[in-house]
């Protein structure tokens, strides 16, 4: 056992002893237990949720000198684990899917703003993208909007009921504004994983797919005669978000190139004069009955961690845009964000 870990263990023991000693006297000073499980709303350990949650959990564990373990259990299990545990042993990290699932009426998703305590936001994945085959006739997203407006059917492969669908819904909404009555020509091809969506494009079952910069960037660098070659048409992130990405961008696609695909260069009108944008944001969710002291403790710890500035570097290296907001601010911010998307989804129904 190395010296720092001995100190760490000793520290933990002292902390535990202290907690046992003073627990009845100062209940208001409740804090995170020594072993914390962070459940995430995805079953994938190769995905952005796991990656980002690991970065944050590692940072917190080190800062608070406790153990934290990220488990990729998937949305419905994660919500259930969280429901059962008001002690703070189980925390959840998820993204906008948690309320979009509810807006789209997916079974297993409740209103998170009612049922849970919203914790701090930690980062944005700016990579949500729409792509077409490299030899597609559509050069811009506007070409797609015009084609659909002219009665052409355009099929878009998405995973229904959430983050993957929201851009599609916004596009449909934009078409209904610019070419009323033609929006039904934009057809959703419902699929699951990214692999399935790509496959739809390879097999000519879809004209456009939802993807990500991270998963699809290499495909955009293949030669045009390759069946698998793709081209970005649209990134849903805000311009200000992509501007914070590292200058080198991702792979061999620079930040400069990525900026071509975001609003206002690519415009998806919402009808109120603004363009639609969507940043996929990661945040904590807590059991409603978890002690406020623990909420404050995590806010406090994360504030200190983000003040140190190291975590931002790690996040940026992994193509995340740091976006820390303490829990109160985050809850208000996310609720406003949700109401915008709620309008879009209601409009096209």
């Amino acid at each position: 056992m190395s010296m720092p870990s001995i100190i760490k263990t000793l520290g933990t023991s002292v902390m535990v002893a202290g907690m046992a000693f003073g627990s009845s006297a100062v209940a208001a000073d409740a804090q995170l237990p020594g072993n914390v499980r962070v459940v995430i709303g995805s079953t994938s350990t190769g995905g952005d949720t796991y990656q980002n949650s690991s970065i944050v959990a590692d940072g917190l564990a080190e800062h608070l000198d406790i153990n934290m373990k990220v488990d990729a259990v998937g949305a419905s299990s994660a919500f259930r684990f969280l429901d059962r545990d008001p002690r703070g042993n189980t925390l959840m990290i998820f993204h906008d899917q948690s309320y979009l699932g509810h807006l789209y009426g997916v079974q297993g998703y409740d209103d998170i703003f009612e049922k849970y305590t919203i914790g701090p936001t930690v980062a944005i994945n700016p990579g949500n993208a729409y792509l077409v085959p490299k030899d597609s006739p559509y050069q811009t997203l506007n070409d797609v909007i015009e084609a659909v407006g002219n009665g052409e059917e355009v099929r878009v492969a998405i995973q229904p009921g959430g983050v993957s669908e929201i851009g599609f819904s916004a596009l449909k909404n934009a078409i209904s504004i610019e070419h009323p009555g033609m929006e039904d020509n934009l057809v959703a091809v419902n699929t699951g994983s990214q692999a399935d969506k790509n496959q739809q494009l390879f097999n000519d079952q879809a004209d456009m797919i939802n993807g990500t910069v991270q998963a699809n960037e290499q495909y955009t660098r293949l030669p045009e005669d390759d069946q698998k070659a793709m081209r970005f048409l649209w990134l849903t992130a805000r311009q200000g978000t992509i501007e914070q990405a590292p200058e080198d961008g991702l792979g061999q696609t620079s930040r400069e190139q990525l900026l071509q695909y975001v609003a206002p260069n690519v415009s998806v009108p919402m009808g109120n004069g603004d363009d639609f944008t969507f940043d996929k944001e990661f945040f904590f969710l807590y059991n409603k009955d978890m002690d406020q002291a623990i909420v404050d403790q995590i806010d406090q710890a994360l504030t200190e961690i983000y003040d140190e500035g190291e975590i931002q570097q790690t996040q940026k290296t992994s193509f995340f845009i740091p976006n820390f907001k303490p829990s109160d601010e985050a809850a208000e911010y996310l609720e406003t964000k949700m109401s915008v998307y709620e309008d879009i989804i209601t409009n096209i129904q």
């Binding site: 692999a195 293949l222 992994s318």
Partner: protein, 502 residues
């Protein structure tokens, strides 16, 4: 090239070997899988760095897949879902006192399957990835259908077998029919009060362990304590009756099964268990004499084990040349790359040549370590059957319960699933239904439905199943051949029984 050699230090090889050893242990414990082993060790890749991390994870992967053979042969419990066909011949051999021999056959078949698939991966990965994307929903459905035809040829009584298979398929449909899969996102085939538990249906592994393991234990318990396999009946030492001569004339089987395993592995979304099931069927249909298969024939073990180890190389093909994991374990493995900020996609191999060679080295080395570890440890492992059953079985039940609880990170209903299917497995054997077809129906049923519905959804007519591509026609040919073969064999054995009866 020298750059690569400098990456391969002693720690690298030690980690690959350690991975293989730990993987074997995970695979051998019912309820623990290669996927779990990789998932548990994934965060270690932070500390180890990419190359050392990959050595450990690939070792775990190879070891985990191989370890599944041990309980499959000795206890009739598939340690991993892909070793289900290993139980068909392995357990009967163990009951005859040939457990050690059976395990050695499995180990040799495994290493051959693993190495063949590694060679295929090394030489043809980009080319095969190109081929694998030609498999749309239609072709994937036909592959599953082909694997399902095994039900007919495997059952003792064809009608009962097919009926059992249909029950298995029915059980697999319980749960939510996801909208991503062409459904309506609602739960089905259950009462409302069961929704919180059966939202995602019965989990595969608890069902598998229950219906094989717990049911076997119940059947044995019914017979009471008896001496069972007395040690004098069991051939120990000197290879337990094993010699490499057993592989004479079996090269075709090994190579064919390895290629089937590699091929199924590289098709994303077609689960690993389909590989060994397909290889097993093909051996049954194509070999000159398959009458002993299912009663303890080494050729069945060779087909099953070479195919399931060949999955490893196969599943890495789409991962490394498309960025798409080929099976559940490689889906976890992809995390090792993303955690290090490395993109996997069509340009992974050309852009990360060093990592690519490092992975190949680890994969081949892990296979070799797995072989030596298991081949020489087997005579000790095989002695498990000498442990008195009143001691052994409670321990197994306890491990099964722990494994079932852990498989989805702590869901108590998985433990109930294990016990329910344990009792069910016992009962269906009592009423004369067949377990193997039922479980194959259960494993493949869900996928069959999804690909069937998605095919129709994208094409709109049944004709698509025949007109999609030349690949589809070839698959139909194989399905027809498999069905005709089963019918002919069924009639033959019926005639034989009648002759014997008269």
């Amino acid at each position: 090239m020298l750059d690569i050699l400098s990456l391969l230090d002693i720690t690298f090889f030690l980690l690959a070997a350690l991975g293989a050893l730990v993987g074997i242990i995970f695979g051998a414990i019912p309820g623990m899988t290669a996927t779990m082993a990789v998932a548990v060790c994934l965060p270690l890749t932070y500390a180890l760095g990419l190359n050392h991390g990959l050595a450990l994870l690939l070792g775990l992967y190879v070891g985990g897949i191989s370890g599944g053979m041990v309980p499959a042969v000795l206890l009739n419990i598939p340690g991993t879902p892909s070793s289900i066909t290993t139980t068909f011949d392995g357990f009967p051999m163990a009951q005859k006192g040939e457990g050690e021999r059976a395990l050695r056959v499995c180990v040799v078949a495994s290493v051959i399957g693993g190495l063949i698939s590694a060679i295929v991966l090394f030489l043809f990965a980009p080319l095969l990835a190109e081929f694998s994307i030609k498999f749309s929903y239609v072709e994937k459905f036909l592959i599953i259908l082909l694997a399902l035809t095994v039900i007919a040829s495997m059952s003792r009584n064809m009608l009962v077998g097919i009926f059992s298979g249909v029950i298995g398929i029915w059980l697999s449909l319980i749960g939510t029919y996801s909208i991503s899969d062409g459904g309506n996102g609602k739960t089905r085939l259950m009462f409302d009060f069961l929704e919180p538990y059966l939202f995602e249906g019965f989990s595969l592994l608890p069902v598998l362990i229950g219906i094989f393991g717990i049911a076997t234990i119940l059947l044995e318990a019914e017979e009471g304590i008896k001496s069972g396999l007395a040690s004098q009946n069991i051939k120990f030492g000197k290879g337990g009756g094993f010699s490499f001569g057993i592989f004479r004339g079996r090269l075709t089987n090994l190579v064919r099964s390895s290629f089937i395993g590699t091929f199924v592995g590289m098709l994303p979304g077609v689960g690993g268990s389909a590989a060994s099931v397909l290889a097993y069927t093909q051996e049954k249909n194509l070999s000159r004499d398959s009458s002993e298969m299912g009663k303890g024939a080494p050729q069945g073990l060779m087909a099953s084990e070479s195919a399931n180890n060949a999955l490893t190389g196969g599943a890495l093909i789409p991962l490394l040349s498309l960025g798409i994991p080929g099976d559940s374990t490689t889906a976890v493995l992809i995390g090792a790359f993303t955690l290090q900020g490395i993109q996997v996609g069509p340009l992974f191999i050309p852009e990360n040549a060093d990592t690519w060679y490092v992975m190949m080295t680890a994969l081949v080395f892990a296979n070799i370590v797995m072989f030596f570890l298991m081949f020489y440890a087997i005579k000790h492992i095989a002695k498990v059957v000498l442990v008195p059953k009143y001691i052994l079985y409670p321990i197994i039940v306890m491990m099964c319960v722990v494994g079932a609880y852990a498989i989805n990170y702590g869901i108590m209903f998985d433990v109930w699933t294990l016990l329910i299917f344990g009792v069910l497995g016992y009962l269906i054997q009592k009423v004369g239904l067949e377990v193997a077809p039922l479980i194959i129906g259960f494993i493949l049923g869900g996928q069959a439905e999804v690909y069937f519905v998605k095919s129709l959804e994208s094409a709109g007519s049944y004709g698509i199943f025949f007109t999609k591509s030349p690949i589809a026609l070839v698959l139909w040919g194989l399905i027809a051949a498999s069905v005709i073969f089963s019918v002919v064999m069924g009639l033959k054995s019926q005639a034989k029984r009648q002759v014997e009866a008269s």
